[in-house]
């Protein structure tokens, strides 16, 4: 399957009879000295030829991309954009495509950043031509191009052609003198130019009056002039033709294209009409479709005669029609013989399928309304299309089916639901599956497939209770009927893979419900499944187990699993693959527990950035809450509350009771730290149906702040002991604190010493620190009475101060991300090393450094470090 169409990456060949247009070339030259040149004119004004002529004068510094409607699929657009840049020796990071934002219909910030970085590094003048940019229908994607144009380095110039002004806002560029417009009136042929073309192409000699008629009637519309020239050339009676033309008041293209066809020999007319069904015309394809052997010859002759076929390669094999003329021809064919049009399209589709090109085949089948054939094409190429990342394209095919065809087609609707899920539209997927459910016609295997799709929504929007129910039902079916044949689906693979998906989703569902014990049981089973040998599932299963263990305080195991998962991800999966979210979160929890707060924050930010990009709202919610807890640990309650607010403002509801409870605890703890105990109290008054360690801790902190020992005892009695061993250490710590409060110093120290010994095994430094002033008092006491190294390190950690993170002198504050990068700069690590520590790509680090320098008003890394130190940011 062709990944990249070479014909989109270069201009069509300039016809031999093309008129030299000095005036227009001058305008384009001037334009090329400005950031953006907009060539805007309706169909048939010669934009492509003019740009091609101009590009010829700049060989070597032009990257060409002809966009079309299919480029609304971000994967396709990105592949071609990267290939276009590569052709001009601008190389992007290998993994740039993995930075694409899933399901947003756009390229996304990370990808555009990577392109801008590559352009920065190219460091030489470059012209980027974007032909027909208004054929991209996705406005988020146009916004991406707008940003690319605005933020590319100054020696990169853009030449953009369109029929209708695109929704890119050009006002700012216009005001700064960075915009050049070449519009309809500029592109109209002068009388002299029109005359020249007519003389050259028609092969007739006209007197001045006749020429004047043609020029006047066509009004310098280039395609009309060409049509007139060709028709004149083949007209049996030129004088009559001119007279008729003068007296006719039809739309010029309408009249002339009619004339043109009438004047041609039957065979030629038939040929011209037949091949109009094709977007890309190749000689072999025509031979197959029309059952001839002379297409190559025909095409060449017709092109030479100026019959609107443009050669798009240098060998005379590939052509494209002039779009305007093609529309007329297609319309005629459809009107005269719709059955023939359908047959031709089906034959062409067959040829493409034989040549391993389902993409072109599908478009033709859709035009031919050949729904069964289209469906077969989808099924036969499911795996291939999935692996090429073409899920958005396949979704457009499914949207082309008439509703009647979809309605009772369970298999197609299941595939449809899977695609919607992959494209970040789980709500739509759910609606499709609900309807299938209601129809009550699913086989056991199909029901399992539906449950699997719902299971995968655990990362996005579904309530965990539903996921738990469905995944358990599906797993039971699998256990009962291990040989069940599950339909092949986008994103799902073998039965082993499906079993993994269901098991991991089930474990996650229980985690989100707050049943950590059950979650751990299931996750422990997941890592032992045969499917967990596959890289993606290995990472997902171990990552999930790691996260659960980290939350439990089993830090060594968690770190081990997380490390393993991330190693496998680094080797086998694209960077920033969504599977890395759970092991990264696990690491963040472990880092915080061990009081490596900077590391915890960096990890949380990596999770947040990736979860946003991949629209995995569940992990986004987790990431925000972890970030909040990390800020609290660093003594920054305001930052913690900001994180809590960001969590509440997610595009999806907070994922389940467990995260909701943690979020509430986070806010309460922040208010306690701010001394606003009554607000904290109010937050905790709300009954949490799922008690968590964090909520219990928050209650105890509130109680201890009040100084009332009986309140502490009461809060301790309400501790969720069912959750043990989760939270067991924390419970015992508060028991020790209570003992100390009640005067049993000796007993308290005994308990504390035992706890310290156990915490030391996992490096769980924050056990004492998270218990507020009481915890601190206890551990200080312990360090005096029964000193050891671990206890001392805890006391030392408590004495550290947080870093400043704002400075009044800065006009624009550095973002959290930028601060993380900034803190790494003094250490002299390379960008690659920094990138590794922050879980981003080196390109991203470079982009952040660039922004840091801009905001600090300096240039260069050492200058940035010096300024930051002066401002107290470091």
């Amino acid at each position: 399957m062709p990944r990249v169409l070479q014909s989109k990456l270069r201009p069509a060949a300039i016809p031999r009879f093309a008129v030299g247009r000095g005036r227009v070339l001058e305008l384009l030259d001037t334009g090329s000295r400005r950031r953006l040149t907009l060539v805007a004119a309706p169909a048939g004004y010669g934009k492509s030829v003019a740009l091609a002529q101009w590009a010829e004068t700049r060989a070597g510094t032009v990257a060409w991309l002809a966009t079309d409607a299919r480029d609304s699929d971000p994967t396709r657009c990105a592949s071609h954009l990267l290939a276009a840049l590569s052709g001009a020796h601008v190389e992007c990071d290998d993994d740039a495509r993995s930075l694409l934002a899933a399901g947003s219909g756009s390229l996304g910030d990370a990808f555009v950043d990577a392109v801008i970085t590559a352009l920065d590094e190219h460091g030489a003048p470059l012209n980027i031509v974007l032909e027909d940019i208004d054929r991209i229908e996705s406005s988020p994607m146009l916004a991406d191009f707008e940003r690319l144009i605005a933020e590319a380095p100054p020696d990169v110039r853009f030449m953009v052609s369109c029929r209708a002004d695109p929704s890119i806002s050009v006002q700012r560029l216009r005001v700064r003198g960075e915009l050049m417009e070449v519009r309809t009136e500029d592109l109209r042929f002068t009388a002299a130019e029109a005359r020249a073309l007519i003389d050259e192409l028609s092969g007739r000699v006209l007197n001045d009056d006749q020429a004047a008629v043609l020029v006047a009637r066509t009004e310098g519309w280039p395609v009309a002039v060409q049509l007139a020239a060709v028709s004149l050339g083949s007209a049996p009676d030129p004088a009559a033709f001119v007279a008729d033309f003068a007296g006719d008041d039809r739309n010029v293209a309408d009249f002339l294209s009619s004339e043109l066809l009438q004047n041609e020999a039957d065979d030629v007319r038939r040929f011209l009409l037949d091949i109009s069904v094709l977007d890309e015309i190749s000689a072999d394809l025509c031979d197959a479709m029309l059952e001839r052997i002379d297409s190559e010859h025909m095409l060449r002759v017709l092109e030479q005669r100026g019959l609107f076929l443009n050669s798009i390669d240098n060998h005379g094999h590939e052509y494209r029609y002039h779009r305007l003329v093609r529309e007329f021809l297609r319309h005629d064919l459809q009107r005269d013989d719709p059955a023939r049009a359908r047959v031709l399209r089906r034959r062409a589709a067959g040829w493409f399928l034989d040549h391993d090109d389902p993409l072109h085949a599908a478009d033709l089948l859709i035009d031919a309304e050949a729904w069964d054939a289209l469906e077969n094409t989808i099924w036969r190429h499911t795996r291939e299309l999935w692996e090429a990342g073409m899920s958005e394209t396949v979704l457009t095919w499914i949207e082309a089916f008439p509703p009647a065809h979809l309605r009772n087609n369970v298999r197609l609707q299941l595939g449809h639901a899977a695609l919607r899920t992959i494209s970040g539209q789980p709500t739509v997927a759910r609606a499709i599956l609900d309807e299938l459910d209601r129809s009550d016609s699913l086989t056991a295997a199909q029901r399992l497939a539906a449950d699997m799709i719902i299971g995968s929504h655990i990362e996005t929007i579904e309530p965990p209770a539903l996921i738990a129910e469905r995944t358990e039902r599906a797993l039971a079916t699998l256990a009962a009927t291990p040989d069940i044949e599950i339909p092949e689906m986008f994103g799902a693979g073998s039965p082993a893979s499906i079993e993994c998906l269901l098991t991991v989703s089930c474990a996650r569902a229980h985690l989100l419900l707050g049943d950590l014990r059950r979650a751990r049981e299931i996750a422990t089973g997941a890592v032992l499944l045969p499917g967990a040998q596959m890289p993606n599932w290995h990472v997902q299963a171990h990552g999930t187990l790691a996260l659960i263990n980290a939350l439990r305080g089993d830090l060594n195991h968690a770190e081990g699993s997380a490390g393993r998962a991330l190693d496998v991800a680094a080797q086998h999966l694209a960077t920033s693959h969504p599977a890395t979210l759970t092991p990264l979160l696990a690491r963040a929890v472990v880092a915080r527990a061990r009081n490596n707060i900077d590391s915890a924050i960096a990890l949380c930010q990596a999770v947040i950035e990736r979860a946003r990009r991949w629209r995995r709202w569940t992990w986004l919610g987790f990431g925000y809450t972890e970030l909040g807890f990390s800020h609290l640990a660093a003594g920054r309650p305001d930052a913690a509350l900001r994180a809590a607010r960001d969590c509440a403002e997610m595009p999806a509801p907070p994922p389940g009771p467990f995260v909701a409870a943690r979020l509430r605890a986070l806010e309460a703890l922040a208010f306690v730290m701010l001394g606003q105990h009554d607000v904290a109290q109010q937050l905790l008054e709300v009954d949490a149906p799922t008690p968590t360690v964090e909520v219990a801790t928050a209650r105890l902190l509130g109680a201890s702040a009040s100084g009332d020992t009986s309140a502490i005892r009461k809060a301790l009695d309400a501790w969720p002991v069912d959750a043990f061993p989760f939270g067991a250490l924390e419970f015992e710590l508060w028991t020790a604190i209570l003992a100390a409060r009640e005067g049993d110093r000796h007993g308290a120290l005994d308990l504390a010493a035992d706890l310290a010994a156990r915490a030391e095994l996992d490096g769980y430094v924050r056990l004492f620190l998270d218990a507020g002033p009481d915890g601190l008092r206890l551990v200080r006491d312990l360090s005096r009475a029964r000193p050891n190294r671990f206890v001392h390190s805890v006391v030392d950690a408590a004495a550290q101060r947080s870093n400043a993170s704002t400075s009044d002198e800065l006009v624009e504050q550095l973002s959290d991300r930028e601060l993380s990068v900034l803190r790494h700069l003094p250490r002299r690590g390379t960008y690659s090393e920094i990138a590794r520590e922050l879980y981003v790509s080196p390109n991203t680090v470079k982009t952040h450094v660039r922004h840091i320098c801009q905001k600090l008003g300096v240039s260069g890394r050492s200058a940035a470090v010096a300024k930051a130190e002066r401002l107290g940011l470091l």
Partner: protein, 71 residues
């Protein structure tokens, strides 16, 4: 049905019979010389913009787009 409305789209130039069915659901008329009036019902704004785009694909110059008053 909300959104559904009757429009008249006027373009420059007359139409040959072959283009009579150019716009689905629209009748072309020629009440004045050198102009074609397409009159028809559109389901919603998207359909209207689609029709305009189709006219642009064929190189027609727009003269006016007028909505009939709802009645």
């Amino acid at each position: 049905m909300p959104g559904r409305a009757r429009y008249e789209i006027v373009v420059r130039g007359c139409l040959s019979p072959r283009l009579a069915r150019l716009l689905d659901g629209f009748e072309p008329r020629t009440p004045s010389p050198g102009r074609t009036h397409f009159v028809g019902w559109v389901q919603d704004q998207s359909a209207l913009h689609g029709a305009l785009r189709r006219l642009a694909d064929f190189g027609f110059e727009l003269v006016s787009v007028t909505a009939y008053p709802p009645d």
